[in-house]
Point group: C2
Chain length 314, copies 2
């Protein structure tokens, strides 16, 4: 746990997941100012937009923050350039092979963390020389692995094969789930969904409301043939399921997914026809709070749950 | 936690899941003798076989044990009769509506626990008057719910709506995952997969070996249109996936599933063409031990992990 705090130079081992259309400079700086590690999610940004967010984030906080880069993103080369020029100190890479960029980033003194969802990619990341791993379970929102391994099963498995700092993601939005992640062997946690709907998130109010209203069973992992993604089961999701029922081809599915559906749903608030990426833990989120309120609440609950669990003896 | 121990009169709040072709009198009595709660899994038994197992289990242990009954099983009426006549004190019901039988069992002084996988069925079980709930996550082996909610997300959600004793299932096979379940709000745990391959399990050696060999990503939840079931991805599983690829009808899928495939795989050891029901946590199971060794190891690890987590402070 202290390893994650030391690695990033932060007060609490709580990382805010980099999320498309949610985590710009406003959210990232708010999380960092509150003692966690804020991440700018570059996956929805053109290079000039990313640059602007980095500059604004630097102005908004003197605390460490990072940038999340999906390695398969079409603007990845330009993003890497900006990250180097702007002297970003922490990069979380995801959705792709860590081989190519880890050494470039490391050679420039950047702390590199890679997000994985199974043993195979954990070993790839370790071999590539990353400083830490985020292990993300099946319950996590947005893009995810194909193996469907849950946080409960993934964290101990990765802990068995990896000695470097391990950050658990997927299903974590509270102090009690953070404590559970630590019990499983994690040194820190990455929280996505709860930050996706907090005040500083750039997501649309209608997206936030849809998340607050959701209960268990209201999200699903779908589009496994293209890129598996967990989202709220809205009209857009139902259209995809209908396409499956009528045996749509891969091209038909890709047409249906189209472009900009996450922007439409999360940023523009079209909760019917947009792609509403969120984790299963949305069922446990009931309030729109500031990033600081979220972090303070997680820390308080963690400490309270710790006191409770101390009373348990077998 | 102590609530679960008190409810059943057992030493450790560790329940052995009732599992077809694994948990007869031999496993159930071994678990109960070791301080947990053993369950005879009646889902694979004809009525006369269940009666025989109950009689043998009584002879093999003077500790509390129970019977698991899948409510949709064709012999359910006869099983209930036997349970009443043999004065069974603890019944875990699963796979069906708890309305009908809970009151019959309760009227006969039996402690009734119902297995659920979402909020809706948790409320049904509470309304039916059960004494405790098993909340089973998506990662669990064998038959499962359709909502795919993982243990990490399900336990806190059920804890929120239910004040009665809560037993976590799915992904739990060690002291650290037991501690995690407690952090999430559980009062006890149900362990399936690890007991499925222990020495007293009636499963075939080839089944046990297949489980020990498996890693993360080697199980899947399939046949969601019939009854969702988690199993090892063997030839039988691949045949089902091929049927999906060629748009098999529901009847064709049912034909493919056929009858007796779980017996074939788990009991007879046909690891290619049989149905190998097991949880995701199989990736973390590496030894064939006695039930007592399993329980002692879980308890020891739980206490060690507890000491470690005490050193964490935020």
């Amino acid at each position: 746990m202290s390893r994650v705090k030391e690695l990033f130079g932060i007060k609490y081992p709580i990382i805010q997941g980099g999320m498309v259309w949610c985590s710009g400079w406003k959210l990232a700086s708010a999380v960092s100012n509150a003692g966690g590690l804020g991440l700018i999610g570059s996956g929805s940004m053109y290079p000039d937009v990313l640059k602007e967010h980095i500059i604004k984030c630097k102005k908004a906080t003197d605390k460490p923050f990072g940038v999340n880069i999906p390695l398969l993103y079409s603007h990845i080369e330009e993003h890497i350039d900006i990250i180097l020029k702007e002297r970003i100190k922490i990069v979380f890479s995801s959705a792709g092979n860590p081989d190519k960029y880890t050494s470039i980033l490391k050679d420039n003194g950047i702390i590199v963390v890679h997000v994985i969802a199974n043993t195979k990619f954990a070993l790839k990341a370790i071999n590539a020389g990353v400083d830490a791993i985020v292990a993300e379970g099946f319950e996590a929102g947005g893009h995810n692995g194909i193996d469907e391994t849950t946080t409960m099963c993934l964290i101990p498995k990765i802990r068995d094969i990896a000695s470097l700092p391990l950050i658990a993601a997927g299903g974590i939005a509270s102090g009690s789930s953070m404590l559970a992640a630590f019990a499983l062997g994690a040194d820190g946690v990455q929280v996505g969904s709860r930050f996706a709907v907090c005040k500083e998130s750039s997501s649309h109010d209608r997206f936030k409301e849809a998340v607050l209203k959701s209960s268990d069973g209201d999200t699903a992992l779908t589009l496994k043939e293209i890129t598996p993604v967990r989202l709220l089961k809205n009209q857009f999701y139902q259209n995809i399921q209908q396409a499956y029922q009528t045996n749509a081809t891969l091209d038909e599915l890709k047409d249906l997914l189209g472009k900009g559906k996450a922007r439409k749903g999360i940023f523009e608030g079209d909760v019917l026809n947009g792609e509403l990426e969120i984790g299963q833990v949305s069922a446990l989120i009931n309030n729109i709070e500031t990033a600081k309120e979220v972090i303070d609440d997680i820390v308080l609950e963690f400490n309270n749950e710790m006191k409770k669990i101390l009373k348990v003896s077998l």
